[in-house]
């Protein structure tokens, strides 16, 4: 097999591959600190037992499913109360229950979402506590 103009084609290919992989090698070696969602809110400070409605690992990986489930139950099925796995009951409300404790949405929700590059559309309609509004 013979490639015409091999040197320039191969050089061009190398440049292309270099450009395409630029984000990988440019950031290689950089240590990006894992996000640390802040739990420093007045309500959480005052809590003896700092336990979310479900265990933390579950909340960390499934909060979006839980919120979707709440949304559908409240808006479409007219339900109001969530019975957690330990039997405690909560009003299914983002503004009324979640943000009661997590009033620092920018430092709690925002830090992980920024890190992971996700942009949930919650705050276009749901109201953040005033301290987070720029």
């Amino acid at each position: 097999m013979r490639i015409y103009n091999a040197p320039s084609i191969i050089a061009g290919l190398l440049v292309l591959i270099g450009l395409l992989t630029f984000p990988f090698w440019y950031n290689a070696g950089d240590v990006v600190a894992a996000p640390e969602p802040s739990l420093d809110t007045p309500v959480l400070q005052g809590l003896q037992d700092k336990q979310c409605i479900e265990p933390t690992p579950y909340m960390r990986s499934k909060h979006m499913e839980l919120l979707r489930h709440w949304r559908d139950e409240v808006v479409r099925k007219g339900k109001a109360i969530y019975v957690a796995s330990d039997g405690r009951e909560y009003e299914m409300s983002l503004q009324g229950t979640c943000l009661d404790c997590h009033s620092n949405t920018d430092q709690f929700c925002g830090r992980c979402h920024d890190y992971a590059g996700v942009e949930p559309g919650c705050w276009t309609c749901h109201l953040q506590p005033e301290e987070n509004v720029p």
């Binding site: 808006v75 007219g78 339900k79 969530y82 009324g96 559309g121 276009t124 309609c125 749901h126 109201l127």
Partner: protein, 254 residues
């Protein structure tokens, strides 16, 4: 390993069956889903309905409108072409076109409060391509703003003009924000929800509560002993455009 055709088909069949049944594990796992309950104080009805008594409504009064719009963060855009409204007043002719004549002097000046009729057969629900608007079992025609894509089919379908489109972000047009209720965003359609969120908490609709003259009544129309049913027999009752077959559930005593 040597395998004849029959054995191959048998084994393949078992595999296909196994993979086909895999999704069932999800269905069986649903039993472990967390439990949800209706609100402790929630008001319930077979069919919610409203009665407006024009004999009692005071001219120039805006209490019901202001209360509703304050509670639900309905913006005051100020431009008629882009206005957002859940409840408003109109004239007799505006509310009941085709039922007027030239000599209805007494009714002409009277305000009629109009809002979403929470139809028994809602045309908006039929046309919504995402089922963002739907009818609950208690008759309330609800909006799920999460699903609304802003196509405005429902606005074209509604014969009462009860729906408004958010042409712009409503937040700058709110004088004061009720922190207990969300706002809407640019690009969704909104309307009256018969105060479903208040009923879930056991309180009557904001407009009914705000009316000092008792011109608005709310209750279960299927309950023969309810206030709304009794009111229906206390005067001549109209509904808006009943000939369209939508089955409006807001009744007007004229």
């Amino acid at each position: 390993m040597k395998m004849n055709r029959r054995d191959f088909l048998r084994t393949a069949g078992v595999w296909v069956l196994g993979v086909g049944l895999l999704p069932l594990t999800d269905v069986l796992a649903q039993g472990a889903r967390p439990q949800v309950l209706p609100g402790r104080e929630a008001l319930s009805a077979a069919r919610w309905a409203m009665v407006f008594d024009s004999r009692r409504c005071r001219e120039g009064c805006q209490d019901c409108i202001l209360a509703c719009h304050r509670v639900h963060n309905v913006p005051d855009i100020g431009d008629v072409e882009e206005e957002v409204k859940w409840i408003w007043t109109t004239s007799y002719e505006g509310a009941f076109p085709g039922r007027q004549h030239d000599y209805i002097d007494g009714l002409r000046s009277k305000p009629f409060v109009v809002l979403c009729n929470h139809c028994a057969n809602p045309s908006c629900v039929r046309v919504c391509p995402t089922r963002a608007t739907f009818k609950r079992s208690d008759g309330i025609v609800m909006m799920d703003y999460h699903r609304c894509i802003g196509c405005r089919y429902c606005m074209a379908a509604c014969p009462y003009g009860a729906r408004s489109f958010n042409f712009r972000d409503p937040r700058p047009y709110l004088d004061e924000v009720n922190p207990d209720y969300p706002t809407r965003e640019k690009g969704v359609v909104e309307k009256c929800n018969f105060c479903a969120e208040r009923l879930a908490a056991g309180i009557p609709p904001a407009c009914v509560e705000a009316c000092r003259d008792g011109a608005l009544a709310f209750g279960d129309i299927e309950d023969p002993g309810s206030e709304v049913r009794k009111l229906l027999n206390s005067g001549h009752v109209l509904r808006r455009k009943p000939e369209l077959g939508t089955g409006p559930q807001v009744y007007y005593i004229v």
